[in-house]
């Protein structure tokens, strides 16, 4: 054996101690590093062991899935039948039973569009046309009345489509309004500035519920006699007015982050105010604030659930009306968990997307 071989075998033989690699090493580093952490781990494990197995037992092992309400009462675990038996009412509400493929198709189209637009490579002008076309097709599917689709009154729109409608249109309409308000707040003209400040601070100071009350009770008084506006649309206006104030604050953050040089450069090129904003400032400022805008979208999506208080038939209200049925009374936790999962799926994917976008955008900045 040459010296070189000896050295080689020795280096191969010497391995890190078993307590520093593999699962043991990981556990040592992450769970039992120090006395306090070891105690914390043991206590947490004990609590998890106390809580998780019974919960799994309740939710999966002892649960029933396809029974009547009566049979449910004898089950030891969760009664998921309350969801499966009523899933079409929970999701689509009063939409005519035979036509419920239409809201389903509209929602699938919406998800498809969202999925398509999440890729930044597709952020080009054609995307706007794709969306306009998509929204038109969705509206057609929901409303009907053309191409042999039977017409469905908007008062019958309920459940998940209504929730999505309120949040999507709420945000798309609130966005331009919010940008205008943000520009107004940063404006040098005192009238514009003060009107914007008063609006933004007033709206942000009151809860959404007070605006929804206003839309439900007071708004009809604002209109001249003979003109009535559909309840859904009124709630939609309230949500738009509310969301716009929050978007305005986010956009203002982006405007403030722009350096003075950008304004001065634009001015020295002879651009007027509108050109400066449209061509120089807004494209940059709005890009910075994409992540916080997504979190506004998330809270707008969550906030649509408040329309239940003014008795609009959104996802939460259809669920509640199922639970008011004597057959299914008392199974609220199961039904609410189902609705919570839907909301969670929506919000979680949006917040995950926002994080991904933040990484990509900040990576782009560094290059």
């Amino acid at each position: 054996m040459t010296i070189a071989e000896t050295v080689e075998t020795q280096t191969q033989d010497i391995k890190p101690p078993v307590t520093h690699v593999g699962i043991l090493g990981w556990m040592r580093g992450n769970l039992f590093n120090g006395a306090l952490n070891s105690i914390l781990t043991i206590v947490t494990m004990y609590l998890l062991w106390k809580v998780v197995p019974p919960l799994i037992r309740w939710a999966f092992i002892d649960s029933v899935w396809h029974t009547t309400g009566k049979a449910c009462r004898h089950a030891a675990g969760a009664c998921w039948s309350v969801v499966w038996d009523n899933v079409r009412f929970i999701l689509f509400g009063f939409y005519p039973f035979d036509s419920q493929w239409r809201p389903l198709a509209a929602m699938l189209l919406l998800f498809g569009l969202l999925f398509y637009s999440q890729n930044r490579k597709h952020w080009k002008k054609h995307l706007i046309y794709v969306w306009i076309l998509g929204l038109f097709v969705m509206g057609l599917l929901m409303k009907g009345g053309l191409f042999g689709l039977s017409s469905v009154e908007s008062t019958k729109w309920s459940g998940l489509p209504l929730t999505l409608l309120l949040s999507i249109f709420g945000l798309t309409a609130a966005y331009p309004l919010g940008v205008i308000l943000a520009l107004g707040r940063r404006s040098k003209l005192p009238t514009m500035r003060w009107l914007s400040i008063v609006y933004i601070e007033m709206i942000r100071g009151v809860p959404l519920i007070s605006l929804l009350f206003m839309s439900a009770i007071i708004f009809p008084l604002f209109l001249p006699e003979g003109i009535t506006i559909n309840k859904i649309l009124r709630a939609q206006i309230a949500i738009i007015l509310f969301t716009a104030a929050y978007i305005a604050e986010v956009v203002r953050g982006g405007l403030q982050a722009m350096s003075r040089g950008q304004y001065e450069a634009a001015e020295s090129m002879g651009l007027n105010y509108f050109q400066t904003m449209r061509l120089i400032i807004l494209p940059q400022a709005l890009k910075i604030v994409i992540p916080p805008t997504v979190s506004i979208l998330i809270s707008a999506f969550k906030d649509t659930s408040l329309v239940v208080i003014i008795a609009l038939w959104d996802l939460l209200k259809t669920t509640q009306s199922v639970l008011a049925n004597p057959e299914w009374m008392g199974f609220s936790p199961e039904a609410y968990i189902f609705v919570a999962l839907l909301y969670f799926a929506g919000c979680f994917s949006m917040s995950g997307y926002s994080r991904k976008l933040e990484r990509e955008l900040s990576a782009g900045e560094q290059q």
């Binding site: 914390l40 040098k188 009238t191 519920i209 509640q320």
Partner: protein, 390 residues
């Protein structure tokens, strides 16, 4: 010639004049819209013969309110009913804020723990709570209380003195004793003393560099003063234990299921956001700060007190206050589960009197007062805490 040059510019090309024209135009448009809405409203109100004005506040309300901090009956006025509602809003917000701060701080610190399990659990908690609408959470907790807990007769009692039933949570509290008044008084005195002590210690340390253990002395004062009073009064230990009388609990302290569900929902939801704020604040203090503080020989408690916290708090406090404000605003969702907060009481008033504009205006005014006073505090704090750069 030179003097006349400005006159050549037509007024629509002069930025200053143009600005005035724009402003007048916007002002007129907004004014016209407002005028249109108001005039329509006046016509409609007349046509539907709805009373206007705040006169209804002095009329008899003739409805009951489930829980109240002040004496109230159906014979009281609407004004008093609204006051009850406002106090209930304050009560749930105040307790909610305290619970949220404690829970949020714990979760935020747990998120940063080097313990993988604890950190992941905190992460899951934050994500789940943030992604479920608070209203849904309220319904969920209310359903748990109302449907899953037994009736008072079969009430659960996990530990003696605590009773869980679908009528709410009942606690045993120390029986009323004259000592309590003095204990509270001396507790407040001790708080005030600690405040002055802290100021004095700061000033002395800046002057002489001598360190005074403010924290430990304050804790001793705050616990010691009431304890001494308690001992002077002969250490009364009699407890007021809730007992089942008829269908409800008498004695002790009872929280209604509506209140507990509201508190639980608001606190859990907001604490997830507070946890993120706390985490971001602590992470904002760079590692070097801690290492430098340790290098100059400060003890760990002093590192935290003098170096980390003052810098972290500057980042934490502004978003924290807005979360507290959010909690207060979200407490308006109480109406959905039937807790008589301000919005809920105002809604009942609207339904009874038909004076919807006044009712909604009152709701908005109350919350505007909250938020404006919060932002006044924020401005004061920002000025005080602004980084003094040298």
């Amino acid at each position: 010639m030179k003097e006349k040059q400005p006159e050549k510019i037509p007024f629509w090309l002069d930025p200053r004049k143009r600005a005035i024209i724009y402003q007048i135009a916007v002002f007129c448009v907004v004014g016209l819209i407002l005028y249109y809405l108001v005039s329509n409203t006046i016509v409609n109100l007349k046509k539907q013969s709805i009373a206007t004005g705040f006169g209804f506040l002095h009329k008899e309300s003739s409805f009951e309110i489930g829980e109240s901090l002040i004496p109230y009956s159906a014979a009281s006025t609407y004004g008093r009913a609204l006051l009850v509602g406002a106090l209930n809003t304050l009560k749930v917000s105040f307790i909610g804020i305290v619970v949220t701060l404690v829970l949020g701080t714990i979760v935020g610190i747990a998120r940063l723990s080097t313990n993988w399990l604890v950190s992941k659990l905190a992460g899951i908690f934050i994500e789940v709570m943030q992604d479920i609408p608070v209203l849904l959470q309220l319904f969920f907790w209310y359903a748990i209380f109302y449907e899953s807990l037994p009736s008072p007769r079969q009430a659960l009692s996990p530990i003696s003195g605590l009773i869980l039933s679908n009528r709410g949570i009942a606690f045993a509290v120390p029986a009323a004793n004259p000592a309590h008044k003095y204990m509270i008084l001396f507790f407040l005195v001790a708080c005030a003393l600690s405040y002055f002590l802290r100021r004095w210690a700061r000033r002395r340390q800046e002057k002489t560099g001598k360190y005074f253990p403010t924290f430990r002395v304050s804790i001793a004062l705050i616990i010691g003063f009431p304890l001494v009073i308690w001992l002077i009064f002969g250490a009364p230990t009699k407890m007021d234990v809730p007992k089942l009388v008829g269908f409800n609990f008498k004695g002790g302290l009872t929280f209604s299921p509506e209140f507990v569900a509201l508190l639980l929902g608001l606190a859990l939801y907001t604490s997830a956001f507070v946890a993120e704020v706390v985490r971001a604040g602590i992470q904002s203090v760079s590692r070097g700060q801690r290492e430098a503080a340790m290098a100059i020989g400060l003890r760990p408690s002093l590192v935290l007190n003098l170096v980390i916290l003052p810098q972290a708090l500057r980042v934490i406090i502004p978003p924290l206050t807005s979360q507290m404000l959010n909690l207060t605003k979200n407490s308006s969702l109480a109406i959905a589960i039937g807790f008589p907060d301000f919005v809920s009481v105002a809604n009942t008033c609207i339904n009874q009197t038909g004076e919807s504009i006044e009712g909604v205006a009152l709701i908005m005014a109350l919350y505007l007062i909250f938020s404006l006073s919060t932002s006044a505090f924020m401005n004061w704090y920002n000025k005080k805490a602004a980084l003094v750069e040298r």
